[in-house]
Amino acid sequence: MSADVILVIVVATALAFDFTNGFHDTANVVATSISTGAARPSVAIGFASLLNFVGAFISISVAATVAKDVVNAEVITPTIVFAGLIGAIAWNLITWYFGLPSSSSHALIGGVVGSAVAAAGLDAVLAEGLVGKVLIPAVVAPLVAFLVAGLAIGISYRVVGKQRPGIVTRGYRYGQIVSSGLLALAHGTNDAQKTMGVITLALIAAGKLGAEADPPTWVIVASATAIALGTYSGGWRIIKTTGTRIIKMDAAQGFSAQGAGAAVILASTHFGFPLSTTHVINGGVMGSGAAKRLSAVRWGVAGNIVVAWVLTLPAAALIGALTYGFTRIFGTGALGPALVTLMALSLVTAAFARRARQGAPVEAVGG
């Protein structure tokens, strides 16, 4: 009975994480399109949400790899997964609160690593996976995107420099609609699978599925729905940061950041070295601004974003570890996770209420 209750809590928490993932990462897909006027905010977000949903059904081949690459799968229990998810959700909400785009995947990995270390010690961490699949890509992604978007915008300006501005702006805006669609599909495929993987892992650990089972259909549909609803809710603070606070971009810069970003993400996926969408898009925005003029980039805002990236893994890990430690005070049953869930719900409600009272510190872009 207790195991079933924990399983239900883990599934609900995983779907809540999926929602925050969509909510947090909406900006990656729509921010540049909205800020350059390529699409109205409601249309851009609705389109991204729909393609996130569709993307979740494209592939389930890597659904269970998110934690297995960095944590010894033998030590994973539903409570460790739960604590890791709480770490990830907490960091996603903290960075949303301050309008900082950070990687939801890194938050999830950090949370699971932290809770696994708290449960089983440092031996639970697979150093090769952590360094090779998380830390190095975290450094490579923004630098590559910065370079590619910088080169791309330089070439774009040279190619279209003498054309009429109307055609150029319209052309790049259309291009942004296509590239944002591609990004939304990629995001749905990549990120919804992480939640599918986490839920499947919990079902296997609880003995509800065989060790090599694929995610059941209800898991796929629930994960796709949660990320699409999160995307549809739109994380306006982060959209504002990515779309207008790093640089004031024109349509060509928006396309360079987003089109080059989509190409970078898919090229890296093809070579089995997936890069964070958040890091790529924000690195690309900085690169497309810096290539035009170094002073065009608000380096203070960019610095805050980089600090958030550096803090994501350790902060989510710390919260995950503390959460695991707290749940163990109440033994190995469902009481600890249930109490943490109630506390988390109270804190989230208080944070949203506080923000609602204060009003948004940054107004929604374009309405």
Partner: protein
């Protein structure tokens, strides 16, 4: 220690492929816009031959971009 933990070949391949794909797609799309602009301008000045050539360049460039989008979707489905 880090040198032994990281698959540098994967990193290098990713960087090269990212630069080629990212810059290539943007270049192709920009050529498409350039061709469209030229097509409009040349058509207005009644230079149909040159306008057709520019239009063809635009079509080819957009076809490259469309192919890249399809390849991107295939990459997503096959990973």
């Amino acid at each position: 220690m880090i040198a032994t933990l990281v698959q540098w070949k994967d990193v290098w391949q990713t960087v090269v492929a990212s630069v080629v794909a990212g810059v290539g797609i943007t270049f192709a799309f920009s050529v498409g816009i350039w061709g469209t602009g030229q097509f409009v301008e040349l058509s207005r000045s009644d230079r149909q031959g040159a306008a057709s050539a520019a239009g063809l360049v635009a079509l080819l460039a957009f076809a490259v971009v469309a192919a890249a989008v399809i390849i991107g979707i295939v990459v997503m489905t096959q990973k």
